[in-house]
Every structure is written in C-alpha cells, then in structure tokens.
Amino acid sequence: MNLRRDVFQAIADPTRRAILVLVASQSMTAGAIAANFDTARPTVSKHLQILTECELLDQEQNGREIYYQLNPKKMKEIADFIEPFRNMWDDRFNKLEAIMKNYRPEKKEDGAKNKDRRRRR
C-alpha cells in the first residue's frame, strides 16, 4: 500500500500545506478555501481531492455545503510527522553551532563587551 508515501507527497506541495494550515483552525467550504489563493478554483479543487483521498482532510455535509476539516487522527498516525519540526530546529541549531565555532570576540570593534572572556575548560 502506497498510502504512506502518498501522504508525504500530499504535504510536499506548498498549496496543499497552506490548505492544511487554513483548515487547522476551522472547517471551511471549498469556496472559502479557494478565496485564499491566487489559483484557479479547479486547481484548488484538485488539491482538496488529493488531501481527502489520503485522508488528511475530512468532508462534512452541512445542508447544501460541504465543509473540509483536518483529520487529526490521520495526522497522528504518521509518526514521522514530527520530523519536519525536528528538522527545523536541527537546521537552526546547526547554523548556531557553525557560527559560534567561528566566533572570534577579538574581531569586534568594542572590546569592552568581551573583556571578561572566560577561560576555556
């Protein structure tokens, strides 16, 4: 079953990610979702179809309208979902580490700030 791969393909697209963010806070109709994008309505519909097919979105009929909402259960099932969050912090911290490894206080114009530079252990 390719469901797992499909889910990650689904969230690889920036518009589909934006749709997930939109409906994370409230359920919305296709029209309301489309109004947030500078994309043709059928394109947005296609994105909604893909998200619904891999169960990231639930459809709910309310009178004549169909509302889309995030399927938190599906999101949770994807254990690897924590990875982007971890990667975001890992990238930041890698940058921090690289900057501080090359950090030389002597280079600064105002040495006053660094006059009490501590001994390295």
Binding site: I11, P14, R17, A18, L20, V21, A24, S25, N36, F37, D38, L70, P72, M75, K76, F81, I82, P84, F85, R86, N87, M88, W89, D90, R92, F93, N94, K95, L96, E97, I99, M100, K101, Y103, R118, R120, R121
Partner: protein, 155 residues
C-alpha cells in the same frame, strides 16, 4: 543525515522537550541567544527588541526580499540567568496559535561542549499537536501573507 536534535513529545501531553548538544562551550552557546546580531544570523530573522532581563520583552520579524513583513513574533522574559537559564513566553503574531511558555536550560558538558534543554508548554494538548503537525505553519504563513500583499498591490 543524522539529526542531533531530539524532540520528546509524549502522547496526550501539552508540552514537549527539545534537546541538543553543541560542539561549542557553554558561554558561546548562551551568547548565541544573548547577542541580537548572532541571534539574527541563526534564526534568520530581524531582532527589533531584545531585553535580556527579568520583565524584559523581545520582538522579531522576518521580511521578504521586497521588505514586506511576512512573519513576526514576540514574548516576555521572565527569568534571565547568564549561562544557565532563560524563561520566556513566545507568541507568533497573526496566527491562530496561542502564546506558549518556554524554559531554556543551558548545561556545561566536558571538553568544550554544551547542552540545551528547551521545555515548551502549550495552552492545550490540541494546541501542541497543531504546532507539531504543522511545523511548516510559519513558512506557510510567510508565503501566504506575501501572497496577500502582492494581491492587494494589484487592486
């Protein structure tokens, strides 16, 4: 590629722990948080205000290449103990996510290494999970706001 950052997020809890060991001494790790110029470099954002003291505040914002502000965040500093601890709030502006509480603890390790423990407490389990599920929310909001700016300019 091996990731050095660890995230502990237990099911059904409204907090999480981010831990990371750095190949730099404790003083330099702390400096990366204390010095606004260095903070800007690794966080990729512009620091508007950074008052490193109890009851101090901070604010930063990120702009696109055209200079439009696409993301901003702020918070209050509750505790600031150099080379040991920072307690602060963090709030992403113009997003549905509530303010969160952050406890940063800086540890000295041997041989010029150091460790950061970042304990983040969210308003609810749902709020934490929303952030975890949508770690790209920040980037998306950035892109989304930019889109709004472009569209409004066309009108």
């Amino acid at each position: 590629m091996e990731r050095k950052t660890k995230i502990d997020a237990e099911d059904g809890k409204q907090d999480l722990m981010i831990t990371r060991e750095f190949d730099v001494p404790l003083e330099l790790l702390f400096k990366a948080y204390e010095d606004p110029e260095i903070f800007e470099q690794w966080m990729g954002t512009k620091v508007l205000k950074l008052e490193n003291k109890q009851h101090g505040g901070y604010r930063f914002e990120t702009s696109d290449p055209q200079g439009n502000v696409v993301f901003s965040a702020n918070g209050t500093i509750h505790e600031f103990i150099p080379n040991q601890k920072i307690v602060r709030t963090f709030e992403m502006e113009n997003t549905p996510y509530p303010v969160q509480l952050e406890f940063l603890e800086f540890e000295d390790l041997t041989a010029g290494r150091s460790k950061l423990n970042m304990h983040v407490v969210y308003r609810s389990v749902v709020d934490r999970d929303n952030i975890l599920k949508l770690p790209f929310a920040q980037g998306v909001n950035m892109a989304h706001n930019r889109l709004e700016e472009i569209v409004s300019e066309l009108k």
